[in-house]
Amino acid sequence: MNAYTQVLFKNRRSNETVLLPEYEKSGGYQGLRAAMKMTPAEVCELIKGSGLRGRGGAGFPTGIKWSFFPADQPGDKYLVCNGDEMEPGTYKDRQLLLADPHQLIEGMAIASYALQTQIGYIFLRYAYEDCFQRVERAIEEAVEVGYLGKNILGSGFDVELHVHGSAGRYILGEETSQLNGLEGRRPNPRSKPPFPAQRGLFGRPTNVNNVETLATVPHILTHGTAWFQNLALNPESAGTKLFGLSGHLNRPECFELPLGITLREVVEDFGGGVRGGKKFKACLPGGASTPYLTADHLDVMMDFNPLEEVESRLGTAGVTVFDEDTCMVAVTRNLNQFFARESCGWCTPCRDGLATISWLLDRIEFGQATNDDLAMLKDQVKNIKGRSFCALAEGAMGPVEALLRLFEDEIKDHIRKGCCPFASN
């Protein structure tokens, strides 16, 4: 039923994991072979030309990030794969790793070569024990045949990969706290500059990329940049993207879809429409930190720039849909509670500001709020946004700000009625 070209999910079958022989048969490790015939700089150039943007949430162009990396610098350098994936509504990396983990291994081998790193870490969240085992097995398979380890493919280049299992906490998805986490220090974020590419893991140059980003890389090497660009429906964009659907949908599943597909198509054709025949009220287009879209936005393209034009973000492309009976104050309250709880506690706006917002949203939701609380909510958002140490609190403000922008009437309704107008539902 998914007529779009499948790249990352091409081998995906339910409840099964692709092992090395099948992966190779489907063209696996051709990208790595192709890369080893190029110079590292050429690989970086190719990725730059492909238009691949990071799939971890921020959408930074991967090739540009790689070209900033001091690949020539002697001494230890590291590659880190970010598989923390703890933002609510996001579960695509898990689907990818469960289905076909060799894509990541191959991508990391290529990236290691392009960036001339010797050691790679795959950082996996605690709940992904299932992925942990599959990735470890894939690494063993790859080491056995020489895609990893010493002198890969007879090139004289070594790649060593380790899997690190985390122990909870969303902040570890932020790349610099992830580095502290890997080092076994308290995982507070680090200040940037210096950027990880200058001073990262153990103080050495380090490149961090998302699972999906790295898994996409081999396909670009195998099929070329033109092919990759043509995958997207938006001519300005490139590639497919994993969309994890959730919430009030008939089919809350994970799909590989071209960038530039409309929200309507995602919700109606792939998500099977809002369940119970209800109307679409709003959605998070890309995880818990992305500002809401409403029915007015159904025809917007699901892609980096088009979503920014409507004051939201593609984020991780985890689309969570809410039906017409959902209280958006309650949704925001739930989201903010998550961020407040997952704050690392390093900086004041996030540590104490998010808790204050939680308190305000509680008051509004439970009908105890006054117009002063609404005013206070607004000044809290203004002073947290862009003022925190890392992007966690910034992300937390996405939904709150959208609530104020799109659903202020609903807040006022709560205040006027002294209770949640949706409470009876």
């Binding site: 996001t90 579960y91 122990a167 080092e183 153990f202 994890g244 919430g247 969570t320 949704v331």
Partner: protein, 166 residues
């Protein structure tokens, strides 16, 4: 202190720590190993980690208390992490949690008197497509209904009983 981790594992951690430049990087691994073996990490588990890796106890504790999936207090034989993040919330997590509380006769953060279950809320488990979801040990259970929960609890109880008599 060896009862927190089999000696051979301690030895292998020790050997690895001695071979690498930054033994701190194994703190989380070792805490997880102790928890897997012992169910949770008591004070002596922190000291064991510090001694095995040659780091300070305070450094281990600073890390251990940061993570929510390292238990520094005693928990039941099965820890139920019930997700309360947005996708599960939208699909009935509050009802699911209420049901769990009733079925177990405990509140969030508590352990059943028989010491079998501890009920903890958790943020998103990465099972958003299968919401509502919960995780017991490392196993994620999705698309929860009250019947399904009753069934899972019964199986877990039986499994614990089997472990005890084994």
């Amino acid at each position: 202190m060896t009862e927190f981790l089999p000696q051979n594992q301690i030895d292998s951690f020790k050997a690895k720590a001695a071979a690498i430049a930054h033994p701190h990087e194994m703190i989380v691994d070792l805490l997880r190993a102790i928890q897997l073996h012992h169910g949770w990490v008591p004070d002596d588990g922190v000291l064991l980690t510090a001694a095995t890796l040659g780091v300070l106890p305070i450094e281990v504790e600073e890390v251990a208390t940061f993570y929510d999936k390292i238990f520094r207090r005693e928990v039941g034989k099965r820890v139920i992490h019930v997700c309360d993040s947005i996708c599960c919330w939208a699909t009935g997590a509050e009802m699911i949690t209420e049901h769990l509380k009733k079925a177990l006769g405990i509140g969030l953060g508590e352990t059943t008197t028989d010491g079998i279950f501890t009920l903890l809320p958790t943020c998103c488990l990465g099972a958003c497509g299968d919401a509502p979801a919960m995780m017991i040990g490392f196993t994620t259970h999705g698309l929860l209904t009250t019947e399904k929960i009753d069934d899972i609890l019964q199986k877990e109880r039986a499994a614990v009983a089997a472990e005890i008599f084994a």
